[in-house]
């Protein structure tokens, strides 16, 4: 598989075309906005916490195929996870797409993002919604639209 085919696997294109959980969560408990000032892409991420468990996750926004598919699959991946598990998953995902994570194993569905590491300039696309998710876990205030300018 070429680097390009590995980056744009059909799963990613499918999530880009038909993103899952692509809506505002009316009864969200946590929210953050992820914004990439370099390209103008941005996503709102909403989480609903029941105690320590993320019972719902959703997002809205604009971005490229990589960022949108990543956001879509992020919401699926964190649903049902505890806050600590979601943070741990962030670290693992971040490690894999930046290529700094060593041999970390991701949940199989998220493995499609491994190809991003061959395109350093696109790492921010893949991590945009993940940073917003992590930020949302820190900030329960709603509907404060403070946003985080994401690091890599």
């Amino acid at each position: 598989m070429s680097e390009l085919d590995e980056l744009y696997q059909s799963v990613i294109l499918d999530h880009n075309r038909a993103p899952r959980n692509f809506r505002q969560l009316e009864d969200a408990t946590n929210h953050a906005e992820g914004r990439n000032p370099l390209c103008g892409d941005h996503f709102d991420v909403w989480l609903k916490l029941d105690g320590d468990v993320i019972s719902e996750a959703a997002f809205l926004g604009q971005g490229c195929a990589i960022s949108k598919a990543s956001a879509s699959m992020m919401t699926q991946a964190v649903k049902g996870k505890t806050v600590e598990e979601a943070r741990a998953l962030f670290e693992k995902f971040h490690g894999v797409v930046t290529g700094s994570g060593g041999p970390a194993v991701l949940p199989s569905k998220l493995e499609v993002f491994r190809g991003v590491s061959a395109f350093p300039i696109r790492v921010k696309c893949a991590t945009l919604s993940w940073h917003a998710m992590k930020q949302a876990l820190e900030s329960t205030a709603l509907p404060t639209y403070g946003h985080t300018d994401i690091p890599t």
């Binding site: 103008g40 195929a65 990589i66």
Partner: protein, 425 residues
């Protein structure tokens, strides 16, 4: 009147007949064009971000460091005198290139951004009063918006948008309505860094002057593509960058009409810009030295001099015709792609073209093109108000310089076809 006609290319210097543009000869002057990217020959369509450099520029910078390095305007020794003479020669060259009335109207800056900030802080900072207005077009690069925000905030002035039309052209009727007794400054780009659209600066300047405002022009994207004649366009300030004109980064030119510069306070203080310094107070040198505090980017100025020598030897009529041919062909071929939208399609443009592909984010298309060795720009191009005006988040931008070819236009179109295959499957 077409804006292109409003800024006619000047007669070739030697009065010789215009010949077809010899692109092969030009390409041979640019070492980087031999590079391969991701295993493919480089197709560089991002000259609007920064142009590649001819051998002459690279050599001039090396030669300065190898044989001529010394500070300017400082020493009595031979090297310093040589460096000063060479540095001032570039100022003369720049004045001739832009057709300023005098070399003293040319200030060396770090680039277009620095030039506009200088005008905003020094000129704007001294003339703006509460309630005054600065008019800024909707197609401006952030570097011709934010400096005005900074000074307006301090002065209690406001920054108002000059709307643009769907065609990509400035809405001159709306502009006329906006001009009023509170208008102090009109800040417009000569050519859009996104759409390439050329603004009729002489018409804008005439209207602004009638209202008693000065006109500040961002010339970053026009000087590489049009033979700019400052006397003909009659703006008050004009800023451009060396690196988009085949010269080095880190150096630019700011032109200001002499009587305006003469009345302006310094922007930055330091060595080289003084008449006399006491601990309690100081007095300042006349322009242009007044605005060049500290050791300037001397090597970069030498490189810019080589770039000016290089481009001033060109037959500009041939260049303009050639680049217009490239962008027209790109526009024609890209326009045939299903679901494509060219931003500001109706505008007279320099060889810069922005477009959107239905269902494909520009970054994804840009990545596919990159794997084919094709360098384009994808994003908001530091022009978010323009993106908002056209209801998009980002565009793909292809920009063509003196060294680009029709084959490269075709490679771009084939690459876009490939991007659609990969991303719309």
């Amino acid at each position: 009147m077409s804006p292109l006609a409003a800024v006619p290319p000047r007669e070739p210097r030697s009065g010789r007949q215009s010949h077809p543009w010899d692109v092969a000869r030009v390409r041979a002057d640019f070492p980087i064009l031999n590079r391969r990217v991701r295993g493919k020959p480089l197709v560089y369509l991002d000259s609007a971000a920064t142009a590649q450099k001819p051998r002459a520029v690279i050599d001039a910078i090396s030669a300065y460091y190898e044989t001529g390095n010394a500070n300017v305007h400082r020493g009595v020794h031979a090297l310093s005198q040589e460096a000063t003479t060479a540095y001032e020669r570039v100022r003369e060259l720049a004045a001739r290139f832009l057709n300023a009335t005098s070399h003293s109207e040319i200030i060396f800056t770090a680039g277009t951004t620095a030039g506009i900030n200088l005008v905003a802080q020094s000129y704007g900072g001294s003339v703006l009063r509460p309630g005054d207005e600065i008019l800024v077009s909707e197609m401006e690069h952030h570097s011709n918006i934010i400096p005005w925000h900074l000074v307006a905030e301090r002065a209690g002035a406001s920054v108002r948008p000059i709307p643009i039309m769907d065609s990509g052209g400035l809405d001159l009727a709306a502009f006329e309505q906006l001009l009023g007794p509170r208008t102090r400054i009109v800040a417009v780009t000569h050519a859009s860094n996104v759409m390439g659209a050329i603004n009729p600066i002489n018409a804008i300047a005439a209207m602004a002057h009638e209202a008693g405002a000065v006109v500040v022009v961002d010339g970053a994207q026009s000087v590489p593509h049009l033979r700019v004649d400052l006397q003909a366009i009659d703006c008050d300030f004009f800023a451009c960058s060396g690196h988009k004109l085949y010269g080095p980064t880190g150096v630019g030119l700011l032109y200001g009409k002499h009587h305006l510069l003469e009345a302006m306070p310094p922007w930055q203080g330091g060595g080289g810009m003084i008449r006399e310094v006491l601990i309690e107070r100081s007095s300042y040198a006349p322009p242009p030295e007044r605005f060049e505090a500290g050791t300037p980017p001397i090597a970069e100025v030498m490189g810019l001099g080589a770039a000016l020598d290089y481009v001033m030897a060109w037959d500009w009529e041939a260049l303009v015709g050639y680049e217009q041919g490239l962008v027209a062909e790109a526009s024609r071929q890209i326009g045939q792609i299903p679901g494509v939208r060219i931003m500001g399609e109706g505008a007279d443009r320099v060889s810069v073209l922005s477009f959107m592909l239905d269902g494909i984010h520009p970054h994804d298309a840009g990545t596919v093109l990159d794997t084919l060795g094709i360098a384009v720009r994808a994003g908001h191009h530091c022009a978010q108000p323009l993106m908002r005006r056209f209801g998009v988040n980002a565009t793909l931008r292809a920009s063509f310089g003196a060294y680009n070819t029709l084959e490269e236009v075709e490679a771009l179109v084939a690459g876009l076809d490939q991007a659609r295959k990969v991303l719309l499957r």
